[in-house]
């Protein structure tokens, strides 16, 4: 029983990381059908922001707290720049956005290598987040994982509320459901796209801050994460966040239990097979947005 709950928690915490990364991706992919391969590099930007801030603010707790909003803005700004300079021209060609943003991600990785050096760097975690909490029944839960879980939960709640309650959220949903109709109704879709890209990329920055708690920071850290995050979005379905949330945790638990029963590498293959099998059942993902759009 203890083992089972321990594994479950490991899975949930893998899922929380996945969720944090996939959340921004789901937003931009859902809104514009744009596949942003440079999303991984925005994560990296968030992580390096934390690293830089820690050089200035030496108290690890404070630097982490400051890093969260700063990374959001840094990554978000990068996202807006990318959207304005390149992606805007490619809305009709989703596959080409994938390739173009891959080119951008190559450039950003090399930039990171030139600025910070190719070896990985490390940040210090705040005292508060280094320990474990012992729960009754001999289960221990790592504080940093708990923090990431809370961060992911907070991001989901904030995003859901923003989409439900604010004017901007209403506009975003209108554009996702039917872009042409939204434009005809007087919504400045280009501006909505830019804002969405800012938020989506900013969430990648937050994910980057969270990842500094789990491991080293390096120029290629984004590449490995981005594929998993894309799988979450694909399986979750487009246009609704609940699919992303459910699938992120489901894949996390599957990965963790697969790892427990076999090895890490076999577990990865198992996850892939499960995804292909799932798509046989629901090719459009878990939840699909119903629209009357002809596209």
């Amino acid at each position: 029983m203890t083992v089972l709950i321990g594994q479950l928690f490991t899975g949930v915490s893998i899922g929380a990381v996945l969720l944090l990364i996939a959340l921004g991706l789901a937003l931009t992919f859902g809104q514009m059908g744009v596949i942003n391969m440079a999303h991984g590099e925005f994560i990296m930007a968030g992580a390096y922001t934390t690293y830089v801030l820690q050089q200035v603010i030496t108290a690890a707790g404070w630097s982490l707290l400051v890093a969260l909003p700063v990374a959001f803005v840094v990554a978000g700004t990068m996202g807006v720049l990318l959207e304005v300079l390149l992606i805007r021209r490619l809305y009709a060609r989703p596959l080409d956005t994938l390739l173009v943003t891959w080119g951008v991600s190559l450039i950003l990785q090399q930039l990171a290598r030139d600025v910070f050096g190719s070896p990985n760097v490390q940040t210090r975690a705040p005292e508060l987040l280094t320990g474990n909490i012992a729960l009754p029944g001999g289960i221990t839960v790592a504080n940093n994982r708990l923090f990431i879980l809370a961060l992911a939960g907070g991001a989901v709640v904030a995003l859901t509320l923003a989409l439900r309650l604010t004017r901007l959220g209403r506009r975003i949903r209108a554009v996702v459901q039917n872009r042409d109709l939204a434009a005809v109704s007087g919504i400045a879709t280009a501006r909505v796209d830019r804002t969405t890209f800012f938020i989506g990329s900013g969430l990648a920055g937050i994910a980057g801050v969270a990842l500094t708690l789990l491991g080293p920071i390096g120029p290629t850290m984004g590449t490995n994460l981005i594929i998993d995050a894309f799988l979450v979005v694909v399986v979750g379905g487009i246009g609704q966040l609940k699919g992303t949330v459910i699938v992120a945790f489901a894949l996390g638990v599957l990965q963790a239990s697969g790892e427990y029963l076999t090895t890490l590498s076999v577990a990865k293959v198992m996850v892939f097979v499960a995804i292909v099998a799932f798509l046989q059942w629901r090719p459009q993902g878990m939840f699909t947005l119903r629209t009357r759009s002809l596209a």
């Binding site: 490619l90 009709a92 390739l99 450039i107 030139d114 090719p283």
Partner: protein, 392 residues
């Protein structure tokens, strides 16, 4: 929506292919044969005469990449399936060949050297054993990738998973395969891969004469694949493939099964990548996860995009040019090359979606008005049409 009338399925079937409006079929065929002969002369006579042994073996390596590119051109440029995981098939072919050569190097009854080092295995794993026989290993280099592509492709295309979803899935396959290979270090060589391959069916690979032979085999194979692909592209099937790319639903309504059409192109492309991987092993002497993961898989696509995805020769020339530029530039300026590669990719895909080959088309169209006296397309007519094609 205005492009509907130009769709090859609905109205253009009896007309000659739009790429060469002035050429009749016989002149067209003559031009192709002349080009083929020129290419063969270049590869078989000029290159071996002019290049040193070292450069020639580099060229052999680039030609292997070009073989993968031909397949990607077929699947992506013609069929609209962005296959981002071709490294998987390249790797399957490469590992199948390398396993056979390792076993042949070790001699009958012995085990490859790395297995004793990492694996501490007492005997050869079961799944290695068939590869001792060349009669199994050689067909496997092509059939194994084709089988994997068939399974994934039929699962995915039948359920109408396409576009970005397919691209991401094929990429995830590459990621999963690399992790699997690294994880099974004892039997696959892990991160190092299968290295230090000495012999090639009884010939010593250190001997420059034999390296030359390997080059000739590779050049010949590439030419054969090009001839085959040209044939395929010009056949009725080729028309159908383009039709599926431009309007899958319409093809379905006409009574064809688009899933089968796509599957054929994807499986053929996988076979080409497998063959390329198999020939890469004797040319370079190594196959490893680093050569087949996500990054190299996308790099295969880069050359195709830059050369021109929808043409026959564009992918070949693009792949060779990019591979050559990488070697030439990354030795001296490693950082600069990465910037250049990224920039080239961004600029070409975003602003010249037909690749460099479309520049040739633009020039030719200006000097060569359509024979039927119809309206001449504007200088960007071709590019604009591509945009619409890619959107569907």
């Amino acid at each position: 929506m205005t492009t509907v009338a130009r769709d090859p399925v609905t109205d253009a079937a009896p007309a000659p292919p739009p790429a060469t409006p002035a050429a009749g079929p016989s002149r067209h065929r003559f031009r192709a044969a002349a080009g083929f002969a020129f290419g063969a002369a270049l590869l078989f006579a000029v290159a071996p005469l002019l290049l040193s042994d070292f450069r020639l073996s580099l060229l052999a390596k680039y030609l292997c990449v070009a073989m993968v590119a031909v397949g990607i051109g077929l699947a992506w440029g013609r069929g609209g399936m962005l296959a981002l995981g071709q490294g998987v098939f390249f790797g399957l072919g490469g590992y199948a060949m390398a396993m056979h050569l390792k076993l042949a190097d070790a001699g009958p009854g012995n085990m490859p050297d790395f297995m004793m080092l990492y694996g501490q295995l007492d005997e050869l794993p079961l799944w290695w054993r068939p590869f001792a026989s060349p009669w199994f290993a050689l067909p496997a280099t092509v059939l194994l990738p084709m089988a994997v592509a068939f399974v994934l492709g039929s699962l995915v295309f039948r359920r109408r998973v396409r576009g970005a979803y397919f691209a991401i899935l094929s990429q995830a396959l590459a990621a999963a395969m690399v992790i699997l290979l690294i994880g099974q270090q004892g039997t696959t060589g892990g991160t190092n891969g299968l290295t230090d391959i000495q012999g090639f069916f009884g010939y010593d690979l250190d001997d420059p004469v034999n390296q030359r032979m390997v080059y000739f085999i590779i050049a010949g194979t590439l030419l054969a694949l090009l001839a085959m692909t040209r044939h395929l592209m010009q056949s009725r099937y080729g028309e159908l493939l383009v039709a599926v790319r431009d309007g899958e639903e319409r093809v379905r309504f006409l009574g064809y099964d688009p899933a089968t059409v796509k599957l054929v192109a994807y499986v053929v492309a996988a076979g080409m990548a497998g063959l390329a991987g198999a020939l890469f092993v004797p040319a370079v002497g190594i196959i490893s996860p680093a050569l087949i993961g996500i990054v190299p898989s996308i790099e295969f696509v880069i050359g195709v995009a830059i050369g021109g995805r929808a043409t026959l020769l564009g992918p070949v020339l693009g792949a060779v040019a990019v591979a050559w530029a990488r070697t030439a530039l990354s030795e001296r300026f490693p950082g600069t090359w990465t910037y250049l590669q990224g920039l080239l990719f961004v600029v070409v895909v975003a602003f010249l979606p037909g690749g460099l080959a479309s520049l040739v088309g633009l020039v030719r169209r200006r000097s060569d008005p359509p024979a039927d006296g119809g309206p001449r397309p504007g200088p960007f007519g071709r590019l604009r049409r591509r945009k619409v094609e890619a959107a569907s």
